[in-house]
């Protein structure tokens, strides 16, 4: 999170609390004193929907809120445009506090600043696709010609050109949700709120829609708050993910941060079933600042000494500009010593696979077949060596076996 601190904050939520029930004040006071959800329910018959949630959504990111049903995620997104009225806390959009807006301002915010896409689509069955896509514009009073022009454009963006005159009932769920998306896009607001937008769709169509959303997002760079109960979806779409449980935010971070460093057992349990190979990157896995040789400074004798100290038989080499060149092997260096040569230049093997820091385990694994030296992780611009990824760590990551378990497995295999 800290590395993103230079980005513009679009939505800022501070200590957002929402209590369902009649005796809200009492319940809120109890919550302030640290009472548990159960105690509050017992005493006041109030349910705590959201318990002091705070987060920031940056401009242009897809911010995914993930949780199981009843975790408060749908309630949370509805607090952002006040379809649900927060009991306490603040929601800043840019710099004004949405929770303090009067009716007129709130209506303006909903009409111009935030558009929403719903799980059940929420289309009007008596209106055509075009009229549905133009509905947000109709509500804010734009003349017919203009709103239909914008709606046509939005429908084209979501791939529904040619369906303008159909009625929603004639379309599949996936297509109906495209209309829902087009309606939100036609409003051209900066923020999209998507509440389980793809959860009602078949798996294949769901995956299509996710791809499509990512494509659209690449073009339009909206700020998207996306609600889902599906971690795979969260990882696929989310620049950052919030995990919610019982109205409390358990963790906020990138998919990789959450997988590699789960904040609680609950989060960890969630992440167990995820295919880590496609998420964990070279940056997480590499050994930073590995021992290396500098072509100008280090000769064969120095190379042998360095290899001996850390007991390896291969080391990376860089030139005077600190650009990664390749590896040298102990057996080659020994030959150089025999021949009394002083430079390592002739034995550097340069056709070695190198990767950038965003390469995933899945992408790196095939590179390690046919040889047994570590992958070099280099910087995309400076070509400097950032670290190395060993085969063992790749295997550990791919199989989720511990180092000891792998040793055991190898021993067993040797006995066969």
């Amino acid at each position: 999170m800290t590395e993103n601190s230079d980005r513009t904050v679009k939505i800022k939520v501070e200590d957002l609390t929402l209590i369902f029930g009649k005796r809200k004040k009492e319940a809120l006071a109890m919550l302030e004193k640290g009472a548990s959800k159960e105690e509050i329910l017992k005493k006041t018959k109030c349910t705590v929907g959201i318990n002091k949630a705070s987060f920031e959504v940056y401009e242009g990111e897809v911010f995914v809120v993930m949780g199981l049903s009843g975790s408060g995620k749908s309630t949370l997104i509805r607090c952002l445009n006040r379809l649900n009225e927060p009991t306490a806390g603040k929601v800043f959009f840019k710099d004004h506090d949405i929770t303090r807006e009067g009716n007129k301002e709130l209506m303006k915010t909903r009409r111009y600043e935030m558009s929403m896409v719903f799980q059940k689509f929420g289309l009007l069955p008596h209106k055509t696709i075009l009229e549905n896509a133009a509905f947000g514009l109709e509500l804010r009073g734009e003349p017919r010609e203009e709103r239909e022009k914008k709606a046509r454009q939005a429908l084209e963006t979501v791939g529904l050109k040619g369906y303008e005159e159909q009625l929603p009932a004639a379309m599949s769920g996936g297509m109906q949700q495209r209309v829902g998306l087009a309606r939100a896009l036609a409003n051209d607001s900066e923020v999209l709120l998507m509440d389980e937008a793809f959860s009602a769709l078949d798996p294949l169509i769901k995956s299509d829609m996710q791809d499509e959303l990512l494509q659209i997002q690449e073009k339009l760079q909206k700020t998207i708050v996306f609600i889902t109960h599906d971690l795979d979806e969260a990882i696929k779409l989310g620049d950052r993910i919030v995990i919610m449980k019982d109205g409390v935010i358990e963790q906020i971070g990138t998919a990789e941060e959450i997988l590699t460093n789960p904040a609680s057992e609950y989060v960890e349990a969630f992440t167990e079933k995820v295919d880590r190979k496609t998420i964990i990157t070279a940056e997480t896995l590499m050994f930073r600042k590995p021992t290396l040789l500098q072509l100008k400074k280090d000769g064969p004798m120095q190379a042998i000494r360095k290899m001996r100290t850390i007991s390896v038989d291969v080391l990376p080499v860089e030139d005077e500009k600190r650009v990664f060149m390749g590896y040298v092997w102990l057996k080659d260096v020994l030959k150089l010593v025999d021949r009394k040569e002083t430079s390592l230049q002739s034995v550097i093997r340069s056709e070695v696979p190198s990767v950038y820091r965003h390469y995933t385990v899945e992408e790196m694994l095939p590179l390690t077949s046919n040889h047994n030296y570590p992958l070099a992780v280099v910087d995309e611009e400076s070509k400097r060596l950032l670290g190395i990824v060993t085969q063992t760590s790749l295997i550990i990551e791919a199989t989720r076996y511990e180092r000891e378990e792998i040793k055991e497995l190898i021993e067993k295999a040797n006995d066969i």
């Binding site: 209506m107 303006k108 111009y112 059940k120 929420g122 289309l123 008596h126 109709e138 509500l139």
Partner: protein, 287 residues
Amino acid sequence: MERVINLGKYIEQGINALEENFSFLWRAIDEGISWTVDNLNGLLQGIPFVLFLLLITFLAYYAKTGSKLFKKEGLKMGAGLASFVVIGFLLIYLMGYWKDAIHTTTLVLVATFISLLLGIPLGILSARNKTADMIIRPILDFMQTMPAFVYLIPAIFFFSVGNTPGIIATVIFSLPPAVRLTSLGIKNVPSDVVEAGHAFGATENQILYKIQLPLAMPTILTGVNQVILLSLSMVVIASMVGARGLGSIVYQGIQQNDIAKGFESGLGIVILAIILDRITQSFANKK
């Protein structure tokens, strides 16, 4: 047993007081309704039978076929009702009850109009406001279960004999379905569509006119259909307080023990009922 509570007496006193203190109001209502009935009746009676027949036949045909009015498949959909209208109207005409049938139609139209004018706004109110709903509901139950004859007594009291008390009693009898079905239609609009409206910044009026009413329309039209049929079923009872039309002929038939008269005029009411029902129902089912 001796009567301890004399509730009827209080009601009577209350009605007396109402009659005395608001006589200008009752007179205004009476004059308004009488004027409307007389003029509408005069207008409808002025239409030649053949033209009327053609108009209603076309309306029936259109109600059944809609956009396929001039297409071949339309013939299959609309021919049945259209021919029923022709045969039914001819029968009424040839039996000699055409004038009375028109008069009955006038009474039904005016009563229906008043019922909808009051019923639909009340239905909207009860759908959107819980308190209003809690007040309106029991009143509707009361109106529907109280025997319809009972309304005739104060109706005569306020408006003396004639069309007006008949129409007032008819309105009281036929109002509840207009309220109930409007309310039901609005309450049954899927909440996700209403929520979508709110999320896109709709005002309360926009929610009502652009979302709730259009989506509730089929149910509201069913209510209209019910109002018409209930009004029609009241014409005989209304004739007891001097409303004219087919109902009064039935009433004469009863009084004179005239089977032929009673049956013919009764059949006339049935024919009108079927035609009005089928036409309004087709409009209700269209959307």
